[in-house]
């Protein structure tokens, strides 16, 4: 029975499929088919501070201040700005701009959007928490008043997208999702920005279609020729690469390292690369009196700078670059990277050389001639080849007598160790959205820094870090930033490994500038 009827059903279905065949759309227009590992969870510009949400939103929403592909600040919805008083910034708004639904953009929307980003449920409030008041002067002028002078206010505003006040009120999304409402808010799957692309359809995790906004104010400045963007995330690495190789997508922004050669051997594809704004490093707990998982009891070996230097000397960064990163990394001597204010190339050049003999001597001097054991906490799904880097380091440290137990786990389990300050020795990566050293000082080098799992920090250094938050004079501020780095380079609370390199694989038909923050902006792209 099964034997006879099932093929018939199948045949019927196939037949039905052929009969109801839908028309194949003509692709005369330029369609950019894009894939990456995962979708933006929400389109609400203030509900989630994640790279992929910002990447999705930057296509549809604009900020007052924007960045060009070299990360230089350029006018966005504000055409000009000036600091009329150390605490007061005045912005002239672009005139004649309208939202995707046709509503005009004006000063009320700026006031509304910044207040929304400051809301209790907003995840972007870290960028706007220095703003005390947003004042509308006239329809196209606003003033932002800060409590103290804020030298990086403009850098922070790059990530604050402007929403339409009327639209938000009409759809009940005056504040971001708070999870207690038990239901979806309208802004999760809908948008009304002023940006280069409009949302045509949205099926989270499956397919998002954006279409060109003919009325975008930037169309004259940024002459892209993309009519439509079809974004289909593909979670599996091998499948993502297969989709590119088979010509089903035009752009992959996160191809796996090990597949680059295979992609390059295809004559229809190319790979663009650039140094990313993210440095990978090890951190030591330099504060606790005793390590949690170590053979050394009653004291903390990492408090001794000689031990930290020994670890540093024991790491062969060129071997990691060659064997683990397949040449795709830039060995680092400090934990920030070139475009960040405060970076100095000489510190990268002066990275301590690989010298296991010196490491052994240093360990003996510190009182550990036989070495000791310690646990290394490492994420396994956060950075490029993160677990492999840790495995390589375990082998290198074993050569100088350090017995490292590797605890590699997913980021959901790993990050609580960092923010909860419960790790002795860890791998971490750090990127800087504000392009200024002050950001990493606040989070990783101030004693109270929320991600400072090393516990590093001295009262003098804390005072300096707090001081630069309010110094507007560029030279004076940069001098202080340098002083802080000199101290940090000497103390080595973190062991710099490398700056990550990002690479985008794409069809040769596509031109799109690669950006160090790993966010493709489709309005820079052209297809032929």
């Amino acid at each position: 029975m099964f034997f006879k009827s099932k093929p018939l059903i199948l045949a019927g279905l196939v037949l039905g499929a052929v009969v109801t065949q839908t028309a194949v759309p003509a692709y005369a227009e330029n369609v950019l088919r894009y894939t990456n590992v995962g979708d933006a969870p929400t389109l609400d510009p203030h509900a989630l501070n994640s790279l992929v949400t910002l990447m999705a939103d930057v296509q549809m929403y604009d900020a007052l201040v924007m960045r060009n592909p070299d990360m230089i600040k350029v006018p966005g919805l504000a055409t000009s700005w000036k600091n009329i008083d150390p605490n007061v910034w005045e912005f002239k708004l672009r005139e004649g701009v309208s939202f995707h639904n046709g509503n005009p953009f004006n000063a009320d929307d700026v006031v509304f959007s910044i207040k929304r980003a400051q809301a209790e449920t907003s995840q972007m409030k870290g960028y706007v928490n220095t703003i005390k008041e947003v004042k509308k002067i006239d329809d196209h002028t606003v003033q932002l008043i800060t409590e103290k002078p804020n030298p990086i206010l403009l850098d922070q505003l790059v990530n604050i997208f402007m929403m339409d006040e009327e639209w938000s009120k009409e759809h009940g999304v005056e504040t971001p999702q708070n999870f207690s409402g038990k239901q979806e808010t309208y802004a999760v799957r809908h948008e009304n920005g002023t940006g280069a692309f409009k949302l045509e359809s949205r099926d989270p995790d499956v397919k998002t279609v954006l279409v060109r906004n003919e009325n975008w104010w930037g169309n004259n400045t940024y002459k892209h020729n993309i009519d439509k963007v079809v974004w289909t995330p593909i979670a599996n690495d091998a499948t993502r690469v297969a989709a590119l190789l088979s010509g089903e997508v035009d752009l992959v922004t996160d191809p796996p390292l090990q597949d680059l050669n295979r992609i390059l051997s295809n004559d229809k594809l190319k790979v663009e690369k650039t140094s990313q704004i993210r440095t990978i490093f090890f951190g030591f707990d330099v504060k606790s009196d005793e390590l949690r998982n170590s053979s050394v009891k009653g004291k903390n070996p990492f408090k001794d700078v000689r031990v930290r230097e020994a670890f540093y000397s024991a790491i062969d960064i060129n071997a990691i670059k060659r064997a683990v990163m397949r040449g795709m990394s830039i060995p680092a001597g400090m934990i920030i990277e070139p475009p960040i204010n405060g970076y100095k190339a000489e510190w990268d050049k002066n990275r301590l050389p690989y010298d296991p003999e010196k490491a052994k001597v240093l360990l003996a001097e510190a009182g550990y001639p036989e070495g000791f054991s310690v646990q290394l906490d490492c994420p396994n799904n956060r950075y490029q080849n993160d677990e492999a880097i840790c495995q390589a380091a375990v082998g290198m440290l074993a050569k100088v007598g350090i017995d490292v137990r590797l605890n590699a786990q997913p980021k959901t389990q790993f990050f609580p160790l960092i923010t909860g300050k419960g790790t002795d020795f860890f791998l971490l990566g750090w990127g800087i959205p504000t392009m200024d050293s002050g950001f990493i000082f606040d989070y990783l080098l101030h004693s109270d820094g929320s991600w400072n799992a090393s516990g590093y920090g001295t009262p003098e250094l804390d005072a300096k870090i707090e001081a630069i938050r309010g110094i507007v004079d560029v030279d004076q501020r940069n001098k202080m930033i340098e002083e802080i780095w000199i101290q940090v380079q000497k103390d080595m609370p973190y062991l710099p490994l490398h700056h990550q390199v990002i690479f985008w694989a794409m069809s040769k038909k596509l031109d799109i500038p690669i950006e160090p923050n790993d966010m493709p902006r489709f309005y820079w792209a052209t297809m032929n």
Partner: protein, 325 residues
């Protein structure tokens, strides 16, 4: 009969409750969703405020009680990752998974029964040997390797079939979206359904074959031959019917595991079903989605088992007469 069914439904409620309870204790090990929900700029104070708002500071028992109470009211909470109601997410993804499972089950049944009969009846035929040897591949290679292999052959090398996704879908009434009404939908389902069906095909093939060999040796077949019945009637009418009880048992259980294990196939082919939703929920520590999914899968298993039990009555006349007596 009615008692039997009611009994089973009561059992299913208990199974689902236990699955939910166990999974809630396991969720402690998937990590902290908060770090995925906030950026690195978030202060510890704000992280704690969010944790408090989500009720993650409560004990497991309190969280579990809240989940059960809400679930009884038809409220499965809101996904931490996608910020949408969980029941809505799952019901959107269910058609994709069920269609994939349906097509795979059909493939497995057709190929499994046909192959099993052939190899059982013509055990010395050269083709039987080829079928049996190659079917070993189906059980010995892991699903994701088979999937990747098919992608590289049919999508990358020959460009015949898509490597990912579900093709064009048509929305039907009642919230069901189907890919089985478009050409691209059929093209997209071929590779994943074969990948998913391979293991089950082998299993069914081998069971039918060994049952056939057994049955063909029994007296009633010999008598049937002696009576001069056509060998087609003997093979498909009498012999095949007697092999079906174990096949139904296995096939039923396998449909449950097709649903549960479509996770891997869905991930490899970026098939937008419940399995890939679940995998992403695990990576994000999206507790509301994980708990609802696990309870649902438990429910499927119980229901399928119930259907299997009922099918026994249809196939085996002895059971029917037992009930009467």
């Amino acid at each position: 009969m009615v008692n039997f069914i009611l009994n089973r439904i009561l059992q299913s409620a208990i199974v689902m409750f236990v699955v939910a309870l166990i999974s809630f204790f396991l969720f402690n090990f998937v990590g902290d969703p908060i770090s995925n929900m906030v950026g690195q700029e978030t202060t510890v104070h704000d992280m704690n405020a969010l944790r408090e708002r989500l009720g993650l500071n409560d004990s497991v028992i309190v969280q579990f009680g809240r989940f059960i109470l809400d679930a009884l009211n038809g409220n499965f909470g809101i996904s931490y990752r996608l910020q949408r109601p969980v029941d809505e997410l799952i019901s959107e993804r269910m058609p994709a998974t069920l269609e994939l499972v349906f097509v795979s089950a059909v493939i497995a049944m057709v190929l499994g029964v046909a192959g099993g009969l052939f190899t059982g009846l013509k055990r010395d035929h050269w083709l039987s040997k080829i079928i049996l040897t190659s079917s070993l591949v189906g059980v010995s290679l892991p699903t994701f390797i088979i999937g990747i292999l098919l992608i590289y052959i049919f999508a990358v090398k020959f460009n015949w079939l898509p490597s990912f996704g579900r093709g064009e879908v048509v929305d039907l009434k009642g919230g069901w979206s189907t890919g089985l009404l478009t050409v691209s939908g059929w093209k997209a389902i071929i590779l994943p359904s074969i990948t998913l069906a391979l293991y089950q095909t082998t299993l069914i093939l081998r069971i039918i074959r060994s049952e056939m060999l057994e049955v063909m040796r029994t007296d009633f077949i010999k008598f049937a031959r002696a009576r001069g019945l056509k060998s087609r009637d003997i093979n498909y009418g009498h012999a095949l019917k007697n092999t079906l009880i174990p096949v139904i048992t296995v096939a039923g259980l396998q449909i449950g595991s097709l649903i549960a294990f479509s996770i891997i196939t869905e991930t490899v082919f970026q098939w937008p079903g419940m399995g890939s939703l679940f995998i992403q929920a695990v990576q994000f520590a999206d507790v509301p989605v994980m708990s609802a999914y696990l309870v649902l899968v438990a429910f499927f298993f119980v229901i399928i088992n119930l259907i299997v039990d009922l099918l026994y009555f249809v196939v085996d006349p002895r059971l029917r007469s037992e009930i009467k007596n």
